[in-house]
């Protein structure tokens, strides 16, 4: 249900004028939720930013997710 919680926060933030960058782990659910823009990651549930302790990869995923909304 994590994607739905994130999706609902996204919906009301966007409607309040706050831009959102949404990370998606399971795109099939994200699409079902009709979240209009999301940054898809190839990782499994529990690891939204990839392998734990890989600081640089975690940082890059954050960077890419934020830059994605400008595309």
């Amino acid at each position: 249900m994590c994607p739905q919680v994130v999706g609902l926060v996204q919906k009301y933030c966007e409607e309040s004028g706050i831009v959102c960058s949404v990370i998606s782990i399971i795109d099939e659910i994200t699409t079902q939720l009709k979240i209009p823009r999301f940054y898809s990651v190839p990782y499994l549930m529990g690891f939204p930013l990839g392998p734990p302790h890989d600081f640089n990869n975690q940082k890059q995923i954050c960077k890419k997710a934020l830059e994605f909304i400008y595309q």
Binding site: L8, V19, L33, P48, Q58
Partner: protein, 167 residues
Amino acid sequence: MFDAFNVNKLKHISIKDKTGLSVYPWRNCKPKKSAKITKPLSDSKIAIISSAGLYIKDIQPKFDAKVKGGDYSFREIPKSIKINSLGDSHRSLTFDHSGLISNPETGMPIPQLIELKNDGIIKEVNHRHVSLMGSILAPGRLIKKSIPKIIEILINDEVDIVLLIPV
């Protein structure tokens, strides 16, 4: 219609859970109107909202796994937090918790955002972030009680972009 039986990343969960996800009445999360991007990223203040169920050990209560429909409360996580003082209290058994437990940055990457700020990629990391517990089957109270308070925080803090992280 969503079919959890055909999703590779859900192969590991039980037939009961797959069935539950397939028949669940997923909400429509499409905003009636999307926010406009008015600033470059390098001029933007960023906050994290994570559904990883993280809380500050010994200071904040864990998310309550016994709340019917799911614990809709939230925790504020200060930017200055020592990341290892965060604990995992997400109630879901459908994912591997080892990453969150050994490295809470997995769900709350505050140090990573601080480095993006130091690199000039973003302007500012907000002084506080929000932790929710994503396992909420009945989201009505989340929508009516918690989300308005979260939005008030973001508006008061003049946050430009929210990075939303599920687990």
